[in-house]
Amino acid sequence: MEFLGEVVAWFANPETWSGRNGIPIRLWEHVSLAAAALAVGTLIALPLGMLIGHTGRGALAVVSIANIGRAIPSLGWFGIVFVPALNLGLGLGFWPSVIALVPLAVPPIVTNTYTGLREVDRDLVEAARGMGMREWQILRRLEIPVALPVILAGIRTSAVQVVATATLAAVIAGGTLGQLILVGINIGDEVQVFGAALLVALLAIVTELSFAAIQRAATSPGLRDRGSAAELSV
């Protein structure tokens, strides 16, 4: 009880909210790092997922490679990026952190995009082709809209993972809320460690809820009763 009181006091303290180590700056670092990693990850994953999903070719290879990203522990990625980033003179901080997070962002999006497109009824695709749609028209006007709930579910999973893992960027000077935790550990301030961790958890939940809302809004009413397909692949 006493501890919780201290946490509340920490949040109430104006110092917590000001300066280089204040919540606003670290939160901003966290959100912008996660957003950048998600954006880069999506830019890589979507076209890849669409290509293999539409053609049905190369799926095994791509999904396997993507899954290696999942197999390596997140902290490992930061270690892996650490050395070349220094050697290449990129320094540390934002971009190396983005690079470390992208391999985490990619797999759920590739997998869901691929699965979503593959789940589109082959009869629908055949009807589309039979009516004289070109391949890219089939992709754009049929496969993507029908698979959209599943694709967005992948982006949602990815976003939540990236937000949670961005915390680790602190170890390569990427800042973020992880920096507050790191400092807290160094100076033995358990209250700050707990408070910052709480913020990360809240941010992850807000991310989850926002993407869920986007997903609902972007799903055609004609697909609504198939929402279960989207839930499945989360």
């Binding site: 009824d121 009869d123 629908l124 055949e126 009807a127 589309a128 082709r129 039979g130 009516m131 004289g132 749609m133 070109r134 028209q137 006007r141 049929l142 809209p145 029908v146 959209l148 055609s220 009413p221 004609g222 697909l223 009763d225 198939r226």
Partner: protein, 393 residues
């Protein structure tokens, strides 16, 4: 009725061999479908019906021979452009689930970059044509419709750009049998208005007989076993395979195809209440076919038969003497229904009545028998004797 808006579709020695398979799926298929007619491809599963049909819109490329539409080789224009000129309906319907009914119907017009108001007008017109009120259905989604309603939208979508040719692969296969009959009738009425050239695939021989102006029966290996009108195939199956495929009840199937209006009618001896018996006897004697007179009411509607017994003696006829239950048939009744009604009554004559129930003539069981023995017109336009090309040959 308008002129056929369809175009002639011709298969010339068309062959399809799938990679990795020795036996062809379609073997040297040659047949011509005249403009505005329904050609049904029928045969057991795996005999190459779908393959034959999909070669027309190039979803499958033939490995030999050529196909022409309106005299033009289908290879002479890009596949997507060809397909936009050919309506395509499949069993699973394949409506796009994320689009409304209106948007689904507008898919091809959109591909053809029609103006929005033209598309909109056409969409409403089409929904109307297939019997769906545009105001009620336009903005709904496919998952809110019944199977039959979806099937109609599928037809509307295929008709959208007014293509001369339509391909339909088991279009009513997923609809329950009761509703299927209604959809078939509706489609035939629609076809009598739009007169497209239609290639219609089914494995159901009854559906083939009902829907086809002509029927191509395929057998395993994609070999054309017979190509003729339904009547000619039923009258003269070209091989044992065809005979078995159309079924042992092909005589009854022929009866289902014929209509009472096709029969020669016999002039009845009409009697009204109060007429003189001797007078009626005289008239009945003059007829060599009839031994019964038909008693009718003041509106000419049949009341019953009067036989020789009732006519003994003199004086006015007693209406109570008539044997009630003269079976009535309509010109549109099938011969099968007519025969059934006649066999079930004491006097084996059917009274043909018009839409108000007034007597228009009589038909006999013999006339039906004669009809089945009469020559049948084939796709060549010639009359052929029944049993001419005997199956045992």
């Amino acid at each position: 009725m308008q002129d056929a808006s369809g175009a002639v579709v011709a298969f010339e020695h068309v062959t399809k061999r799938y990679p990795g398979s020795d036996a062809p799926a379609v073997d040297n298929l040659t047949l011509t479908v005249p403009a505005g007619e329904i050609c049904v491809l029928v045969g057991p599963s795996g005999c190459g019906k779908t393959t034959s049909m999909k070669m027309v819109n190039r979803l499958i490329e033939p490995t030999g021979g050529r196909i022409t539409i309106g005299g033009e080789d289908i290879m002479s224009l890009p596949a997507v452009e060809l397909r936009r000129r050919i309506g395509y309906v499949i069993q699973q319907v394949g409506l796009f689930p994320h689009l409304t009914i209106g948007e689904n119907t507008a898919v091809v017009p959109k591909l053809l970059r029609w103006k929005a108001d033209r598309t909109r007008k056409r969409t409403d017109e089409l929904l109307d044509i297939v019997g769906l009120d545009p105001a009620r259905y336009r903005d709904r989604y496919p998952n809110e419709l019944s199977g039959g309603e979806r099937q109609r939208v599928g037809v509307a979508r295929a008709l959208a750009a007014d293509p001369p040719v339509m391909l339909m692969d088991e279009p009513f296969g997923a609809v329950d049998p009761i509703r299927r009959d209604g959809l078939q009738n509706e489609f035939l009425r629609l076809q009598s208005r739009v007169r497209k050239t239609i290639i219609f695939v089914t494995h159901d021989v009854d559906e083939a007989i009902k829907m086809g102006d002509r029927i191509a029966i395929l057998q395993r290996g994609g070999i054309l076993a017979q190509y003729d009108t339904p009547a000619a195939i039923l009258a003269n199956p070209a091989s044992e395979f065809v005979e078995r495929f159309v079924g042992a009840d092909r005589g009854l199937k022929r009866l289902s195809m014929g209509r009472v209006r096709d029969l020669d009618h016999i002039e009845p001896v009409i009697v009204r209440s109060g007429e003189d018996r001797a007078e009626i006897r005289k008239r009945l004697d003059r007829s060599d076919e009839l031994t019964f007179a038909l008693l009718v009411d003041d509106d000419n509607r049949p009341l019953g038969w009067i036989d020789q017994h009732d006519l003994r003696g003199d004086g006015p006829i007693d209406p109570g003497a008539a044997t009630p239950g003269a079976p009535t048939v309509e010109p549109e009744s099938t011969l099968r229904d007519a025969l059934s009604a006649m066999l079930g009554s004491s006097v084996q004559l059917g009274v043909v009545v018009d839409e108000r129930g007034r007597v228009a003539g009589l038909v006999s069981v013999d006339a039906i028998g004669e009809r089945l023995r009469a020559p049948v017109r084939g796709v060549d336009g010639e009359l052929h004797e029944v049993g001419e090309a005997d199956a045992t040959s």
